[in-house]
């Protein structure tokens, strides 16, 4: 056992045991399950932060590679690995005003860069998009919790 006399005062009434001083990896997350800060601190710090109202999940995750899934009726936070977006566009070359489609896509943010640059919030369902200006477009889709996926679409005859 850790000698109680050498344990630094914590000031918040929590009993500090030896295992509470072991370095522990955990992360804070927002209401969507995105991780926002990664911690590697004594376990007592995890409890102190929980007591202070932070949303925390134990485990070693990366800000961009992991997320929190809320499991069961209690919505218990569980650290999960973000996976690749499973779907892709049905075409990589389309005419001006022709549609490229990703069927049944989860809600997400679509960002495109090319002769026309912009961003679109997809509410979920079939993503059906097209462009009026020919060129090569880089389309990035982030349908959280899937990892961002990047596609190249060629639009028009002159691109």
């Amino acid at each position: 056992m850790f000698p109680v006399s050498t344990v630094p005062p914590n000031g918040d009434g929590l009993v500090v045991a030896e295992e509470d001083l072991v370095t522990t990896k955990f992360a804070s997350y927002d209401e969507t399950g995105r991780l926002d800060t990664i911690y590697s601190e004594p376990r007592i710090s995890y409890y102190r932060r929980l007591n202070a109202g932070q949303s925390l999940v134990l485990g070693e995750g990366g800000l961009t590679t992991h997320y929190v899934e809320f499991v069961g009726e209690a919505r218990a936070p569980v650290l999960r690995v973000r996976t690749e977006l499973e779907q892709g566009f049905d075409k990589t070359e389309i005419a001006v005003r022709e549609a490229a489609t990703i069927p049944d896509m989860a809600p997400g943010t679509v960002t495109f860069d090319g002769p026309v640059k912009g961003r679109h919030e997809h509410p979920g369902g079939d993503l059906v998009v097209g462009w009026t200006v020919p060129g090569v477009y880089t389309v990035t889709i982030e349908a959280f919790p899937a990892l961002p996926a990047t596609f190249t679409l060629t639009v028009g005859a002159t691109a």
């Binding site: 640059k117 679109h120 009026t132 002159t158």
Partner: protein, 124 residues
């Protein structure tokens, strides 16, 4: 379907603006300050006026004397130096007409590619 980008009419206008900006950048890549560029325009006006009416403006006369040329020779030199600008403007007008008469976005895009114009619209 969600269609991103301008309609054909707006693309036409934006294409002409992009072409103009591209050609202005080419014409002004010598980094001559606007004040000096205005002087060039003034000199050209003086040279043209001399050739058409024989009026000798002070700036034209002083510069011709400094260069050891006649006013007529110097006016010819100034007018000849403006030729590249004329060529550029003629090119711009020709491309503008092509853009105006293009029947599709693909045609406009091909014209811009031919003129090496980088076209971009940010919808954000």
């Amino acid at each position: 379907m969600i269609l991103f980008g301008p309609d054909l009419g707006e693309f036409r206008e934006r294409a002409k603006t992009a072409l103009m900006q591209h050609l202005v950048a080419l014409a002004e890549r010598d980094a001559v300050p606007p004040t000096m560029r205005a002087k060039y325009v003034q000199k050209l006006a003086e040279a043209t006026a001399f050739k058409s009416s024989g009026v000798i403006a002070p700036l034209l006369a002083a510069e011709a004397e400094m260069r050891g040329a006649t006013v007529d020779e110097h006016a010819d030199l100034i007018i000849s130096m403006s030729a590249p600008s004329d060529d550029l403007e003629i090119y711009r007008m020709r491309m503008n007409i092509a853009i105006d008469t293009a029947e599709s976005e693909d045609e406009i895009s091909a014209i811009l590619n031919q003129a090496k114009v980088k076209f971009s619209i940010d919808l954000a």
